[in-house]
Amino acid sequence: MAQIFHPSMRVISRASILAFLLVVGFIGWVCWDLYRSGYFTDVNVPKEQPIPFSHEHHVNGLGISCGYCHTSVEKAAFAGIPPTHTCMTCHSQIWTGAAMLEPVRASYRTQRPLEWVRVHDLPDFAYFNHSIHVNKGMACQVCHGNVNAMPLMRRTSPLQMAWCLDCHRAPEKYIRPVEEIYNFDYVPPKDQLAFGKELVKKYNVQVKQLTDCSVCHR
């Protein structure tokens, strides 16, 4: 009887088993990472907008507060995207000739709204309500990041359910006094957890309810 296989098969046969396990593990790792990567979550990926609107300039440079444009953030589920009219309150006075702002003026002229690309876009079956969050001391910064330092708007949070749960399970990690929700320079106290727990109690946040399915899905 002759050997069927080349002697190298001694190693190859065993290595292939190991390799198979490694490949399976690798694929698992790639999937794990891919779903959490910027490719999938769009974290830190600025989107092309009709106008390269700079939050940095308007917030840090001009000191405009979030609520000036996002008017319904304390009142409604939707924070509100400012109508062209809001832009024109200033831009009918300043930078009136800037080419960059032509779409704004065109919108105002033609009554055709501007079409922004949604940056923070939850799936349609997740019902997020801005008003309850900001009214209970969850600052803009916590989810949206340092918008005041963003020349172009981008996500800083993956907006995945596990990410939501992180805070819904322990809001004390992020909660702050309601007066500070628009403050990008807020520094949490050293004993944030203890302080946070106090605030949670003060604002009557029912933490155990926050992981109920019906809180976000209807």
Partner: protein, 464 residues
């Protein structure tokens, strides 16, 4: 062992292997059938039919993936119908292999050696068919992987309270263990195939699969231990799998489902249907491949006896259900039984009693048990009966439950039938592939049954 008194096989009513067979002839016959390019003509004809069914299967799967479970006849009270009936039926069939391999091994039933390979392969394919149904019956089949507990960005896990999750674990465990059992059993035979193969590519393929098996005594020692352990593990597993499948029903509160008798009753039914299917497949295979030397009439006799025994247990189960319904004092339970017997699906109940309860009674007679043609017909009847049993449990329980306002009828559509018949095509097709590429009888285990000086083969314990 050596001091055992020498006994001849002549004392046995009929030897388990024809006395004219030798180690060499066994090997040449079984391996030769695989390596030969000739296929029996009858097999080619049935293969054509099977292939047509396979096409139907592809269409039926495509339809349900494309349009959803709405292509079937399921409706609001009857959320499960053919698909779960088929699932349970196939899982049940998938019980014979492991039972034969494991339980009969532990019980020193040597006659199992001739049929275990085939039955194990049948088990694998039946479980594959079975697994398709739960996977296809969900509305969003592309999300079936949500039934697996894996870390995800939703932070969600599965609900371990659900019998469907138990099913996932039980069926995948069963499939994995059955596959390992089958594969481990195949290793020495794959080596034999490697050594018999004429063509280099055949040698390579069988060689890779045999993993370099060389029949070393050291290896055999561990091998036998491992095989025994697997048998020991598979035995409770096989019992648990159909128990878990029965939990799908028993855990619910629907009259006709909510019954503590279900686990044993389901396991017995599974063995019953499994043996029926083994007989259904073995009889033509034995004939076409002329395997009468290995699968003797005595084998058929034993299988028929197992069928009779399990058939009686199942029949007892039917009687118990009647008694439970009466004794529960619950109007819902009583109505359920009444509805089974006299309701709009009365025919399925009576047919089931005929197929599963009445027909097997003829197996009390040895003449029937050894009449190949008759046995084949009986096995087919039992197969149908066991399908009806699941249909009765699934559909007639659901279609009239608590609130009469919701009562409705289930009417199967062409897609219900297509998928069912399609899986039969898929199943038989896989069996054919198996028969053509793998030894359908375990070569080394048959050899194990040949006596040699210094070892007797005591098959006196082989009584079903």
């Amino acid at each position: 062992m050596a001091e055992h008194k020498h006994t001849t096989l002549v004392e046995q009513p009929e030897p388990l292997v024809s006395p004219k067979e030798t180690y060499g002839s066994i090997t040449d016959k079984i391996a030769g059938d695989v390596l030969s390019t000739k296929t029996p003509k009858a097999m080619m004809i049935t293969l054509a039919i099977t292939s047509a069914l396979l096409l139907v299967f592809v269409l039926a799967v495509g339809a349900v993936l494309l349009f959803g479970p709405g292509v079937w006849g399921n409706n609001n009270p009857v959320g499960w119908a053919f698909e779960i009936t088929n699932f349970v039926w196939w899982v049940g069939i998938g019980h014979a292999g492991t039972l034969i391999s494991a339980i009969l091994l532990l019980l020193h039933q040597h006659w199992r050696n001739a049929i275990n390979r085939f039955a194990e392969a049948m088990t694998l394919f039946a479980v594959m068919c079975a697994g398709l149904f739960p996977a296809l019956h969900t509305g969003r089949q592309w999300l079936d992987y949500w039934l697996l507990p894996y870390p995800n960005t939703m932070g969600m896990w599965v609900n371990f309270r659900s019998p469907l999750i138990w099913d996932v674990f039980a069926v995948t465990t069963y499939l994995t263990v059955s596959f390992m059992f089958w594969f481990v059993g195949l290793i020495p035979d794959l080596a034999a195939m490697r050594d018999r193969a004429k063509k280099h590519w055949q040698k390579v393929i069988y060689g890779i699969l045999a993993m370099g098996w060389r029949g070393s005594a050291h290896h055999w020692h561990r091998y036998e231990m491992s095989y025994l352990l697997l048998a020991g593990l598979a035995t409770p597993l096989v019992v648990s799998v159909h128990s878990v499948v029965s939990f799908d029903f028993a855990v619910s509160l629907i009259p006709g489902w909510h019954a503590t008798i279900f686990p044993p009753y389901f396991v017995a039914g599974a063995i019953y249907s499994g043996f029926a299917m083994v007989i259904t497949l073995m009889i033509p295979a034995r004939r076409w491949y002329k395997l009468e030397s290995f699968i003797t009439d005595r084998h058929l006799d034993y299988m028929a006896k197992v069928m009779l025994a399990t058939g009686l247990i199942v029949f007892y189960g039917y009687l118990t259900e009647l008694f439970f319904a009466y004794y529960s004092g619950s109007m819902y339970e009583r109505f359920m039984m009444y509805n089974r017997i006299f309701g709009p699906y009365w025919w399925s109940y009576w047919l089931l009693i005929f197929c599963n309860g009445v027909t097997p009674q003829v197996l009390w007679f040895k003449k029937v048990r050894t009449n190949v043609a008759l046995l084949f017909v009986i096995s087919l009847i039992v197969n149908v009966g066991m399908w009806l049993e699941r249909f009765v449990i699934v559909v007639t329980s659901l279609h009239r439950d608590f609130l009469p306002s919701s009562w409705d009828m289930f009417r199967p559509t062409i897609w219900d039938w297509s998928l069912y018949l399609g899986t039969i095509g898929f199943f038989v097709w896989l069996i054919y592939v198996f028969v053509r590429v793998m030894p359908m009888i375990s070569i080394f285990e048959i050899k194990h049954l040949l006596p040699w000086r210094g070892r007797k083969i005591d098959t006196s314990a082989d009584a079903a």
